[in-house]
Amino acid sequence: MKVAEKTKFIQPGTLIGKRIPKMDAPEKASGKTRYIHDIDLPGQLYGKILRSERVHARIKHIDTAAAKALPGVHAVITAADIVDQRPIGVAKDHLPLKTDKVRSLRDEVAAVAAESEQIALAALRLIKVEYEDLPILTDPAEAIKPGATLIHPEPRQPGGQDALKPSGPVAFTGKPDNIAMRFDYCHGDVVQAEAESDAVVEDTFKLHYVTHCCMGVSGMIADFDSSGNLLMYSNTQVPFLHKREFAEYLNMDPGRIRIIQPAIGGGFGSKLDIYPFEVICVFLARAAKRPVKLVFTREEEFISSPTRQPVLLTLRSGCKRDGSLTFRTVHTLHDNGAYTSWGATTPFVMMQTFSSLYRVPNCDYHTVAVYTNNPYAGSFRGYGNLQATFAVEAHMDKLAEAIGMDTLEFRLKNAQEQGEVSGQGMEFDSCGFKECLTTAAERSDFRRKFAENVKNRNAPGAIKRGVGIASMLHVGGGAKIYPSDGCGTILKLDDFGQVTLITGASEIGQGSETVLSQLVCEELGLPMSALTVVNNDTAITPWDVGVHASRTTFIAGNSALGAARLAKAKVLAAAARKFECPAEELDLRGGYVIKAASGEALIDLPRLMRNLHFSDKAELVMTTFYYEPPSSYQDKRYKGNVSAAYAWASQVVEVEVDTETGIVKMTKITAAHDVGRVLNRLGIEGQIEGGIVMGQGYALTESLIIENGVMRNPSFRDYKLVTAPEIPEIDISFIETMDGEGPQGAKGVGEAPAICVAAATANAIYNATGVRICGLPFTPERVYRALHGKGEKLYLAPEKAA
């Protein structure tokens, strides 16, 4: 019996700005999610790498006979066994297995694939390597001097190492000096500007080694099928770039390489480059003709992962008596380590902060990254911006003090507004900078506390309170550092009203799946439960640059939105035909096609989809979209609008400094972030809280101690991440500037929260004690020394501008 359906009206609602739990969280909280460590393939072997025992040495001889003879060992390889090795890395200066020399303690000398990890480790112990030590170069200031030992001398010396020299093509033949990379940038005339300045300050800052410490250690599984196609289970953040690069290194057709990214135990920029262990894993699989799984130990993760690039930096800044900034001149010396990875290119981002955080009419920036025998540096959340902001914001305080101006007022005077274009050509189409400053200051009662603390500096008692403010500018709409910054989406609607979102964007724990699903569901008027995401597999998903530069929500979000809009148009067009009305009068809401004006439900989506499916045209709703942001590739002088949108933030840090021990306790952080628009409140709060605490670690506790090329603290025991009892109270405000290009107005914020914590902390310590500390981290001993006149003396002679 058919019952007449009652007319149904669907109330409007939105998913935007709501607290939406991560779609992958239930599996993760149950221990069911499989990370690379949890995956085993049939017939799989275990790979292990023998690393150098010397910081800088010639490899004279490697004897692998005993290792090869050990039962259970399937392959032992050295550079001599891999005739087609090619150099990897940003400057192609790094052979995965070292031939003639080791240049740092982490260097890969040989590798083993065996039936168990124990056997592989036993085999490593049987490999005998003879070294001849070379002079060690670990101070970048020494490395840059003429006549210094060369880390990559050119041309390769004839004789001696020939037996180990690869016969394959080697693009990199060495360098006449230790300079790995240089960046020079300028706008305006800093000499003239300095002459016109009323106050000029100069300091040298020392930014230290830190590393990502992803909770899941690095790993990889490589497997060739019987036709020679390569399948990699990889933790990479950039699968499509890697697919192409691996094809080059292995001299394979990229079409024969598939990369699957299982759930990843943290990225933070650590997985943007190809590392030797990944290529070695593939070599082992090829040699053993079996799948090979290679997973690091925690100690190996510390020793052989890239670091944030350590920098010695001299900043000279000036302003006029009225508080307007006049110029910034910057010289930096970066310790590149023995090989070039993305760390060497962080000046690209640092210069954006020097040129464009606050209105700077004149800016001169010279930077050089030099080779040493230290661990090499890679990319890390913030990409140089933590280092640059640390210096810039110290000077904002110093200049304000020099001219006797309120430090907040000074910042507000120089903060940009919507519509401005910076000296470097960055176009601030949406800009909540001033609102970030005032919000953070007001919510933390910054002005009152600042004045009170200065007054109490000399009061009795060991504990001094301090408050400091700092701001940051970072790309928030992708970053055009490759010819394309785009992302593709495929969207499929099935006849149960279920949507499959196939996206190029990788979920690495940051919540991209959930936010992309939200954007699609919002557009199609569906609940989150109607959506399935397919991602993290290069054989299935469309192209994407990868997870970096805080770009996924913005770029992949716009891509998903584009596909959803096409799908919606298709569905509404079909409904319009069915109900014989203009499509413009219809909308999608609550799983129904509705009359847009009244909300009256006309047909539920599954039924309409089945209608389409079984119609004469047998139509399926499947759409594709590729989004390319309207940003530009910078010119040779690094000018241009590198991002489609920019994120701003101001943070106020409150500290208690124990002057008798040097302990700095971070009590509260008040953060105001211009995020464009909040899409998933739960997700964005989590990103910002996590970033702030990562910034806290950078400021207070984390430091890789490297002495003469040797890492002294490769464990969580002495490399100290922030633990739960140490976290400050965190107050977050979102400034919603509704970016015109952003998906639903949103901008990227992945890196932003970590960037200015250390800078604000330095200012807070100064506010508390009257002592300016220019080196990080603020460990008790460093602070105590500084307070007792025994601080480090930092100086970097400015190089003559080229």
Binding site: P21, P26, K28, G31, G216, I508, G686, E689, V722, A724
Partner: protein
Amino acid sequence: MSLKHDIEFKLNGVSRCASVRVDMSALDMLRDVAGLTGTKYGCGEGECGACTILVDGLSLNSCLMFAVDCHGRDVVTIEGLAADAKADALRAAFVEHGAVQCGYCTPGMVMQASHLLATHPDADAEAIKRGIEGNLCRCTGYTKIVEAIASVSRTGKPGARS
């Protein structure tokens, strides 16, 4: 190869035996012998808590425990916690409060939180922070984890704290 020893113990409520190398950690035994991969390796020296399990009702770092020492004991892993109604609420709280990002520390964090709430049912935020001081998380900054655990703590003892 290394000496092996036979052990009998209860794993997630079910009695079982295993033959393990005497120098093997309980973590390796759980993952490689029992095939339960929810318990994670993070550091191998008790500094990160990713491998936290319950043994006779106490939370331990399984990476520091000898597998042979499981003999005769009652071992519960994240997989076994599923049977516990209180733990259901805890896992749901982690999801709803956004306490999960990359998720690698999550099983250990849930195990430790479960032990914490079993021993301190009305733990406040400060007690919760101390309770998870042996569990590192690199993504969340802990705030949402503390909130998630506190929400269950409140459920356990209505009005204990706000």
